[in-house]
Amino acid sequence: MSKPRPILSKLRWLVPALYIVFLLLPIYWLVSMSFKTTSEILGGFTLWPNRFTLENYAKIFADPTWYGGYINSLIYVVINTVVSIAVALPAAYAFSRYRFLGDKHLFFWLLTNRMAPAAVFALPFLQLYSAMGLFDTHLAVALAHCLFNIPLAIWILEGFMSGVPRQLDDTAYLDGYGFWRFFLRIFLPVIAPGVGVAAFFCFMFSWVELLLAKTLTSVAAKPIAATMTRTVSISGYELGLLAAAGTLTIIPGAIVIYFVRNYIAKGFALGRV
């Protein structure tokens, strides 16, 4: 019936390869620009830096308002990831194992919060967190990001947990394990890949979100990405500095991907996400 088409199947790798080239071009441009001087950027078009300079990076690491932004971002992202996973784990277990009053509605309601446009909530959030006295703290941003990260974490974890047969729970309970001991000692290791994937997504969405993070902070907890927009408008058009700051924001993400690289493919496949 169907003849194997050797030429076509040999060229298959071209599709992902071309796609990756497309992905890397803008990133390359950003990185190469971060090593150029402002005069070289505005003076003409050069594919790679002619006069290689670390000046832009030096500026960032010398100025606390710059590097403080990275620390702020990392603090609230980590708090958010830990909190989201911690409360999502028991909730996801409940959704995957128990039937209770209104569970389906509750699940869908949780998911609707994943759809809430941040732009809609920006102003009320500002008022809410000011009223609680949390304005301009890392905790405020971390809690605000729970709005979309907890539903997402529950969604992902529920998928993984439903892939684990119930017999595991029943056997453990018969063996005299209490709920929490079973959950922490037996169940958690089994769904470790799921926790990895969920943590990856929480980290990702908290790290990249800016609108709420910017609204809820002014100085003490200002995220790096917001520092970038402010500095651009104040100090004019310093493309090199902007590019250097942008390049540095890619690094934490790249590190996280490296650690979860095996989980991303396997993890999704295991859970019925």
């Binding site: 796609y19 909190v83 446009p117 729970c146 907890i150 970038m228 019925r272």
Partner: protein, 289 residues
């Protein structure tokens, strides 16, 4: 059928998550509802206005235009990203060292802060200084996204495809690698063409992950704000002023809380409604099987 057992203890386990989400969802939402029916003077005097703002927003041409742009944007990026993502996932190697390399490189755009994505494409596409702008100019194409609406749209869509296709690829790839080899062997014995394998083996198995991909992409593209703001600022003119950008302009720029709140609610309801339609259509299909 349903392996779950009836146990109201479930509520206890859900409670912490529920409390945190409710804090962030219910209170601000009530504040928005509150604003949407009132007139504000000097930020602390309020007068009840009923549904006036809702009528005003629903009849405003500005809102219609922003909504039309928003829907067009969502439709275009879904039409490009979902088939492209599936095609790339199909062409990816199934095993071997290249899998990790592909996945790590492809996931990279997903972890870049959204305004950096916008700023990066802004730099990349600048007419004279940027790589893309310069290349197009050398090819003889008149391209300037800061002045031409069409170029601005093309840049915005290219940016979104660059940013988010990988999510579809990751999900589709996960769905594909969950298919046991036995399925392919059976298909080969039956002499199925590669199209038939795709249509009757791979596509049904990817159904669930593709549902998630489509839903996530729809919600996020409908909410898109930061990237477009950093890229074009909504311009030239209002050409790329999507719903959320318009909303923030009204709420924080002009401080018209009432109309902004009414618009927020309408906006949120549209997302809810469309997501619910997707969700029911897909889950109904699942139950029918």
């Amino acid at each position: 059928m349903d392996a779950r057992i009836e146990n109201q203890k479930g509520w206890l386990l859900v409670l912490p998550a529920l409390a945190l989400v409710a804090l962030n969802a219910v209170i601000p939402l009530m504040a928005v509802v509150n604003y949407s029916v009132q007139e504000t003077f000097s930020s602390n005097l309020f007068f009840f206005e009923g549904v006036k703002w809702f009528e005003q927003v629903l009849h405003s041409e500005r809102f219609h235009a922003a909504l039309a742009r928003q829907l067009a944007f969502c439709a275009i990026i879904l039409a490009i990203e979902v088939p492209l993502g599936v095609a790339i996932a199909l062409a990816m190697p199934r095993r071997g060292p290249w899998v990790s390399v592909c996945l790590v490189l492809m996931a990279l755009p997903l972890l870049i802060p959204w305004n950096v994505v916008g700023a990066m494409w802004n730099i990349f596409a600048l007419p004279d200084v940027g790589m893309l702008g310069r290349t197009l100019k050398n090819l003889g194409i008149d391209y300037n996204y800061t002045q031409q609406p069409l170029a601005a749209w093309a840049t915005m869509i290219a940016m979104d495809v660059w940013h988010w296709t990988s999510l579809v690829v990751l999900l589709a790839y996960a769905g594909l690698s969950a298919i046991p080899d036995a399925y392919y062997q059976a298909a080969r014995i039956d002499g199925a063409s590669s199209w038939a394998i795709f249509r009757y083996v791979q596509l049904p198995k990817m159904r669930r992950v593709l549902t998630i991909a489509v839903l996530l992409r729809f919600m996020d593209s409908f909410n898109i704000y930061t990237e477009v703001l950093a890229l074009t600022g909504g311009g030239p003119g209002n050409a790329t002023t999507l719903l959320s950008i318009d909303l923030v302009k009204i709420a924080l720029g002009q401080f018209d809380l009432g109309p902004a709140a009414a618009m927020s609610l309408i906006y949120f309801l549209i997302i809810l409604l469309l997501s619910w339609v997707f969700y029911t259509v897909i889950t109904r299909g699942e139950e029918a099987r």
